[in-house]
């Protein structure tokens, strides 16, 4: 295995991006920030991989327009996944493992505000038995939340505590589109949106984009004084049929955590939990110790841009290695309904 590190990270998150759904104009400054952080130029990047979806953009081959932001003469070595950019990062990590390239830049983007996000996401469900009913993703998460409430695995106060901590932490995040802690009591007094979930239990619809730079071996030190070395990365998926999954646990997150050798020693975990109860499911599935700092960025409840929010978790976690405030961190990404697919990326600093 080659040693690969996260050495660059830039993001933009906002409520409403006033521009085209291909977002090339938003990606230009993000890529420029990655070049500035690493001291590299386009020619120093060996491989490019993006994550986005035509369903979100409402136009075909939208990722091709986004490539304009790179500038592709001479041609670049490039790929795309219809997944969060965290999975693009996985592909780039594999590409570096093959030895074909030493560096990669991955990016994700999505303008969720162009459509009705909770309805658009219906198209990721089983097209025979689910999509014809148009079950929105917020409702599916609410069904999951109630299963845990009824089973006594969590209560409404526990969900409100997750929200309160997230929105309090988000006050320090300049990219948060929702921020401001209050109290468990105040949160519980707010009306239901998708009973038993209130609006603050659900991630805000967010437009945004993000990019992460990877580098192997000594190249990592060219770009970053304290690279965040990826010491474990894995992803796993649960089945298509909602009814055959136990929604109160996350088998795929457990398998991903097991594949990276567990989470012992992790000090900071940035979890991609678009619904408050899902953080509790993930904490348990990933086997996080009680003293782990969970999502100090404010997490997905503060901003959740489709196709980059997972990669942003990895980037936020990596920043804690770069600044020396942690030695071992975890970034997590999810995709699909009710935590169907999960990716875990453990990173460590070297002293």
């Amino acid at each position: 295995m080659r040693d690969v590190a996260v050495v660059g990270f830039a993001q933009r998150q906002m409520k409403d991006f006033d521009g085209s759904p291909s977002m090339a104009e938003l990606l230009v400054p993000i890529l420029a920030e990655c070049y500035e952080q690493t001291g590299w130029a386009k020619k120093d990047i060996g491989f490019w991989c993006s994550g986005s979806s035509d369903y979100l953009a409402g136009r075909s081959f939208s990722f091709v327009s986004a490539i304009d932001a790179i500038g592709v003469l001479p041609p670049v070595n490039e790929s795309h996944v219809e997944m969060d950019a965290a999975w693009a990062l996985y592909e780039a990590w594999l590409k570096i493992q093959t030895g074909e390239v030493d560096t990669a830049l991955v990016f994700g983007f999505g303008k969720a505000s162009a459509g009705v996000l909770r309805r658009t996401l219906t198209l990721q469900l089983d097209p025979y038995t689910m999509t014809p009913l148009w079950p929105d993703t917020v409702s599916l998460a609410a069904l999951q939340a109630r299963l845990g409430l009824d089973a006594g695995l969590w209560d409404e106060a526990a969900l409100a505590e997750v929200v309160n901590r997230s929105l309090t932490d988000a006050e320090k995040n300049e990219y948060a589109v929702r921020a401001g802690g209050s109290s468990v009591g105040e949160l519980l007094a707010r009306p239901m949106f998708a009973d038993p979930l209130r609006k603050h239990d659900c991630a805000p619809v967010t437009d945004g984009a993000a990019a992460i730079v990877l580098a192997a071996g000594d190249r990592a030190y060219d770009a970053n004084q304290r690279p965040a070395w990826i010491t474990g990365i894995a992803h796993s998926s649960d089945g298509l049929h909602l009814g055959t999954r136990d929604l109160t646990i996350s088998g795929s997150a457990e398998r991903a955590a097991a594949a990276v050798g567990g989470t012992a020693g992790v000090q900071v975990a940035e979890l991609h939990a678009p619904f408050s109860h899902q953080e509790l499911v993930l904490r348990s599935a990933l086997g996080l110790a009680d003293d782990v700092a969970v999502s100090p960025s404010g997490g997905a409840l503060a901003a959740n841009p489709m196709f980059s929010a997972g990669a942003i978790r990895i980037g936020e976690a990596a920043k804690r290695i770069w600044d020396g405030s942690a030695d071992k961190v975890l970034g997590h990404a999810t995709s699909g309904p009710a935590l169907q697919q999960n990716l875990v990326c453990v990173m460590e600093g070297r002293n």
Binding site: V28, L143, R146, G239, T244
Partner: protein, 308 residues
């Protein structure tokens, strides 16, 4: 803008058996490797991955295992007013099924509540052939199974609505069209002129900035003759769709070539923009009706060979 498409899907034997059951007002489950019955039946067992081959006809009653209240329904859902989704464990099944329950308020549903299917009069073999309702024990109408061939194919219409915002570069292009002008922008690095302007020069990855008004006359660099009729076609085939390299631009613009028989259109032909009557203008490329032959000799291949 709405993007819509009717997906036609073959069902295969397992989903086909399930949907045929629904068409005949019967809930059909499939037996999993661990002995439980799953509704809907998956084609393959989620754990053992063995094919599901044993089907079980179940009653159309069940119990709410979990529920939520849809306070703001979205298009296409079973009700246009607020309603409940539930995970319903059909009697005899071991896994829950997601479906809608017709109750008036969230106070009228709870976990453990008994529900029964309410079948549509006209059933096609779809999960929309029924909704659930509270089971009050007195069923008014007996169902008559529909006869017919097994369901082997379904049509799933999908339609999504989008609100598009124009980027700053696109805005200047569209505003120009409203004034009868064709505006491009020049890349500050490679100096190429893009029309329509882009958020980033695809060669250099920097925003195009300097505005350039382009000529209304250009050269056909390549073209195709459209012979195939399609839904929404506005012009009778055969007609020509071409790339027109406007004088002063480095990127060709796609548009129609009319006022000339299709077979006479050629590479290098000089054409000019024909605008619709001014009162029909909006902020769209459709302000230009088409391009028509300009009274000029054809351009040399060398003059556009780098723009193909």
């Amino acid at each position: 803008m709405t993007v819509a498409f009717d997906y036609t899907r073959s069902t295969g034997p397992v989903i086909g058996r399930f949907l045929t059951g629904l068409r005949d007002a019967t809930i059909v489950g499939g037996r999993l490797a661990d002995g439980r019955v799953a509704v809907p039946p998956p084609e393959f067992d989620p754990v053992s991955h063995q094919a599901v081959t044993e089907f079980v006809e179940l009653p159309d009653t069940g119990t709410v295992t979990s529920w939520t209240w849809v306070s703001e329904p979205v298009a296409g859902q079973p009700f246009e007013r607020p309603f409940a989704w539930a995970l319903i464990t059909v009697d005899g099944a071991g896994t829950p099924w997601l479906h809608a329950v017709d109750v008036a308020s969230p106070d009228d549903i709870e976990t453990g509540m008994r529900v029964r299917a309410r079948w549509s009069e006209e059933r096609t073999g779809s999960v929309n052939d029924l909704v659930f309702e509270p089971d009050t024990g007195d069923r008014a109408v007996a169902q008559t199974p529909a006869a017919g061939d097994d369901v082997s194919r379904i049509v799933t219409p999908v339609g999504l609505d989008y609100h598009y915002a124009a980027s700053p570069e696109e805005s200047s292009f569209f505003r120009g069209l409203a004034e009868g002008r064709i505006l491009g922008q020049r890349c500050p690095k490679c100096r190429k002129v893009y029309v329509p302007p882009r958020g980033a020069c695809p060669t250099d990855g920097v925003p195009t900035a300097e505005e350039v008004e382009l000529s209304q006359v250009g050269t056909v660099t390549t073209f195709c003759i459209v012979n195939v009729p399609f839904l929404g076609q506005k012009i009778k085939p055969p007609y020509v769709s071409a790339y027109v390299l406007l004088d002063g631009a480095d990127i060709a613009l796609q548009h129609l070539i009319l006022d000339i028989p299709a077979e006479e259109v050629r590479m290098g032909m000089r054409v000019e923009a024909v605008w619709k009557p001014r009162e029909e203008w909006g902020t769209s490329i459709e302000n230009i009706s088409h391009f028509a032959p300009a009274d000029e000799p054809d351009a040399d291949f060398d003059s556009y060979k780098h723009h193909l």
